[in-house]
């Protein structure tokens, strides 16, 4: 007999997208999203992260939080690869509107247009928005 945790076979892998729209500090959304991603990584689903609007700042290189007395958690995005989370999508328009380019980001990402990202969202089974 299958153990309870074995009941669902590999056929039930779902596409999860975590959508990050907020600046890294000032609200808890960015950190909470990252923590949920790290915890949920154990469930071996098809996970991707999307960064748009002010969410693109979450991946900005050279964050210095000394002035606001918060922990700089941006190095943790570099740990995602070790958790087998390698699909990071960044919306090109959000970057451009903020004067940023891919070179300003601290992890390798795939930059895609708003239109392409919307299409990608359409293909997800679950979208979690932060």
């Amino acid at each position: 007999m299958a153990e309870p945790w074995e009941e669902e076979g590999p056929g039930t892998v779902k596409k999860f997208m975590y959508v990050n729209r907020k600046a890294p500090y000032g609200t808890i959304y960015a950190l909470e999203s990252l923590e949920v991603v790290l915890i949920a990584a154990a469930f071996e689903q098809d996970v991707s992260l999307a960064f748009l609007d002010d969410g693109v700042y979450e991946l900005k290189k050279g964050q210095d939080t000394a002035g606001i007395g918060m922990k700089n958690f941006s190095p943790t995005y570099r740990a995602l690869e070790g958790y087998d989370i390698e699909k990071l999508y960044v919306e090109a328009e959000s970057l451009a509107e903020r004067g940023l380019t891919e070179a300003d980001l601290l992890v390798p990402v795939e930059v895609m247009s708003r239109e392409a990202l919307a299409k990608m969202m359409d293909e997800q089974d679950v979208i979690l928005s932060f």
Partner: protein, 110 residues
């Protein structure tokens, strides 16, 4: 509950993890282990030091699956497996080794 090491008191949370990771030193780690009935060997320290380096780089304590894989990469496949790590840290390698390393309890699957 605070722990006493060499006449100095160290604040811990309700599960015994060090409250301020900057206060950590090897003596504190050894004292925590001793309280759990565990004498730390060089093999234990290898994992503890690895965890401290991981935390320094990524600002998180890794989940056990990630720790196991990373240890294998760094210290060799004979050490990057659950059997080896659970023999060293029977309460769970990530959970127990993080405690002695002065790190917070790992996020997620421990």
């Amino acid at each position: 509950m605070p722990i006493e090491v060499n006449g100095k008191s160290y604040e811990t949370d309700e599960e015994g993890y060090l409250a301020n990771l900057n206060e950590w030193n090897p003596e504190v780690g050894a004292a925590m282990a001793k309280a759990d009935g565990c004498d730390l060997t060089d093999s234990h320290w290898e994992v503890i030091n690895f965890l401290r380096e991981y935390y320094e780089e990524y600002q998180i304590a890794p989940a056990v699956r990630v720790l196991t894989k990373a240890i294998g990469k760094k210290l060799g496949e004979d050490k990057g497996n659950s059997k080896y790590l659970y023999e060293l840290f029977p309460y769970g390698p990530a959970k127990q080794a993080c405690k002695y390393a002065g790190l917070p309890k790992p996020t997620g699957c421990v």
